[in-house]
Each structure stands twice: as structure tokens, then as C-alpha cells.
Amino acid sequence: MIEAVELRKVYPNGTVGLDGLTVKIGPGEMVGVLGRSGAGKTTFFRLLNGSIRPSSGQLTVLEQPLELRTDRQALRQMRSGVAVVYQSNNVIPSLSALQNVLLGRLGRVSTFHALRSLVFVPENERVLAAQALNLVGLADKLYTRADELSGGQQQRVAVARAVVQRARLVLGDEPIASVDVKTAGLILDLFKKLNEEMGVTVLLNLHQVDFALRYCRRLLVLSQGKLVYDGAPDGMKDFQLYADDAEEIADEVEQQNANITIR
């Protein structure tokens, strides 16, 4: 599914985003990525989705090696298999929930088809979108403008978009960072559902450690662009979980590096 070898990303301004990350994630996994701000979590996600290109190292996503990414068609194909749910800005405010959900199909349809969806959406696509919205509990919001939805509802529309996209890999880039605790649980339940019932590989970039421990079967901790912990949530018990702040955990991991296994 994902295979990174000595992955390195240095931004044009000299900031090191990732510093030799080697990790392998198999199909059907649900992985949480923790680390303080600037640890390289978002860089990693952006590399996975082809928004940025690594400075060196190898990266294979969905069986597609990195070299292919200069080919636009290949990039498009790869991206259509990878859905991203950001912290915010997941929906186009002036489009309806229906149209936003159908954005997930853009990797597979023609420009004419996309243009037509501004005026007319065919029956089968409306049913498809309604099913996806039903899955996330927003069946009644099909024709609602996205900017009339609450923040949590917008995140759920983004999950529905990932479903319509039929993505094999879903990247949640801090998907619950700007919603309340109850909604956060609701959204993570949806990710879990995608993972367990549809076999989608899920990568979650989280700040709330308690959620990560509860939902993910495997955790990656990044610090300064390096992988400092890779393993089951149980292994994290070695650390004193006095804070539910991922950043402090990352510090803790660094300090106690000698005591734990690093793969």
C-alpha cells in the first residue's frame, strides 16, 4: 500500500520536512501519526498524495512508484485512489453537499461531465451521493449549500466524498482538530467504519493522543522529520501519559529513545 524508503523532503527555503523516513504500511491498516507541529506529519501526507515531491528517497503509493509521478495521467490515477480529509476547507462553500460529494469522482470523469454537474446531476450519481451522505448521517442535507453546514457536518461530507471516490487509502490530516469532542468521536467512528467494513487503509494525523490510542491499531510518532516510534498503542504505555498532548508525547519518546524498539 505505502512503502517509503529513506524519504527526505527539504523545502526550497531550507526547512527539513522529512529526514529519512522509512516505513511500510500494508492494506487495511488503521494508523495514527503523532508528533509536534513541524515534525513532518503534514509533509508526509502531502508526499503521499502527490502535492509535493520528495527531495530524495523512494516512495510507493498504491503500488505506483514515485518515478511515475511526472506523468500527469499516472498522478491523476494515483490521486483518485487516495482521499484526503483536511482539518478544514474540505468543501466548496457555494456548492451543494451533493456536488461536493461528487467532487470525489473528478479523477475518473471528463471535464465536460464535471461542468455538467453544475447544472444537472444524473439520477445514478444522485443516488450514489445520497447513499454516501446517508452513511455519514447527512441524508437530508443532499441539496443544502455546504456553507450552511456546521464544521463537523462539513468534515462528514468530506468523508462521504472519500467514499464516493472509492479511495483505497484515506488520509485524515488532523480531521478532528477543529470540532468538539463529541463530533470528533463521530467522525473517527466513520473512519473506523471505512477501515473495518470497506477495507480502506486509513492514516490519521492526530493531535489528541487519547483518540489515537482508542482508534488506531498502530501508531507512528514523528519528531523533527524522523520516525521515533512505530508500533502498537500498547507500547506507548511505556511513556508516562501525563499529558494528552501529542507534542509532549513526542518529547517524551525522544528522551526515552533508548528504552524502546525502533524499527
Partner: protein
Amino acid sequence: MRTLPSDNNLGLENQNNLDNFSLPPRRSFRYSNLFVFGAIIFFIWLSAHNSGVSIEPFFDARNLKLAGNFLNTVLPPYLEPDYVWHVADLAAQTFYIAVAGTALGLVFAFPLSLAAIKLRGEEMQRAAQGTPRWLFRWVLYYISRAILNVTRAVPELVWALFAILFVGLGPFTGVIALVLHTTGILGKLYAEIFEAVDQRLVETVRSTGARESQVLWLARVPLTLPALVTNTLFRWEDNMRAATVLGFVAAGGLGNELVNQMKIYQYSKVATNVIALLILVTLVDLLGQFVRGRLLDARHVRSGKRRFVLFSWLRQ
């Protein structure tokens, strides 16, 4: 002990506990600001002085008398029904010139603006795009920017003088002049509006595997529609005025009649023309307000469930 709020306390209990702080130092005043301010005032005065700006002529008894005489010849406006209909006809012609000029300008401006967008994101860089594609894109960018700059920089009147060479005197000359100038202005405006779209939303749509053309139709256009419409309507209003001025030289319509009557000192007929122009501009303003209002209010209108999903703002 509770104190009442006053100018120097907040009226809280234990006001004393709030007083254990010291005010941070004030940012010092930059005296150079005074100099800059003075310089600006001086340049404004200099400009006015060199343009011969003066208030005296407005209070000169002789001038006031002349103005009074002029008003007497202008008022009342000439309202013979035949002539009013004639003027209405001419006003319609000016209106048509402005509409055709703006609409055609829009048609040319839109594709040019697309080529003139500076696309952001690492996938747009040379390494990701491959040199030929990247080069093509930038050549296109500079060509379209050049076209937009030239068409914008040359005023309508000058374009009209060029157009006379090809199509002679008449409304079409006016339309050509408006189209060229409007293309330059709208093209640049559209390009800047499209560029200013929130890059995070663009990335969201790109992340689904969308082509750049799909990003345009499903992100850039829906996000900027109110701004696009407002700017286009504003150009239309402005072209109304420009169409009149073009009439002075070539294009016929209201402007032509206005300047002709002025030349033969038929000031009451000039007044009729000016009133027609006033009505025309007001009409365009009202029309623009109506369209804009419909567009911007749509978000507050709860939409019913419809089979056809137009842009949400079109669903009422």
C-alpha cells in the same frame, strides 16, 4: 467592597488586585510621519495650483450672470414628442453598443484570463510538469498578459479611431472599441480573481485527482462567482458612459446627437439628451443591483429540493 464603574475603574470587587501591573511602554511616535504627511499635503496643493484650481470664478458676478443665462437657454428641456422618441431611439442604440461591447469583451476576456493565471503548487513546477509543458504554459502566460496589457492601456477613443479605418463610422465602431478595452480590463480582473482563490480549497479539489480544468469549473468559478458578476456588471455600467463618449467621435447614438446639438447651440435639446443619459445610467444601475441582489441574497433563501441542481444560487 464593590465600587461603581467609572472612568478609571472597572467596577469590580477588589479593584486593588488589578492594579499590580505596569503599562507596557508606548510605541514612540515617529516624527518622520509628520514630514510624510506634510509632503503629501504639499503635493496635493502643488497639483491643484498647477491645474489652475481656484474658487474665485464661481463667485464672479459676471460669470454667475452668464451661468444664469445658460440655464435659461437649457431649461426647460425640449420635449416635443417626435424629438423625445428620436432621443429614445438614440439612447437605445447607445445601450445596445454597451451591451454588445461588454458581452463580447467578456467572451474574449475569459479564455485570456485563464492563460494569465499564475498557478501555484508544487505539481505546477517544471520538475513535475516536464520542461515542454512548463515552457508552453509560461509562454502562453506572457502572451496573454501582453495582450491584456495592450488592450487595456489603449483608451476606447483611440481604439475607435483605429476601428473607423476598418468599418467606417457607425455603432459597430463603438462596439469594436469597447470590446478591445473591456477585454483588457475584464481579462486582468478575472485572472486576479481566479488567482486569489483560497489555495487550500484548490488543493482539496486537486487531491481527488481533478484536472486543472475541473478545478476551474468546480472550485475557482463557484468560489468567485459573486466577484465575477459584480465586476462584469460594473464594467457594463462604465461602458454605458464610454459608449456615449464614443458617440462624440464616431459611434453614433446619444453621444453623437449630444455633441451635434451642442455645436448648433440647441441647448434645450442638449438638456433632453442629458436627461436621457441620466435615465439610461439609472436604469443600468437598477438592473445591476437587481442581478447582484439576487446573487448575493440567494444564500439566505432556503432552497427547496429540486430535481435539477443548478448552482445553488440559481435554485430559489
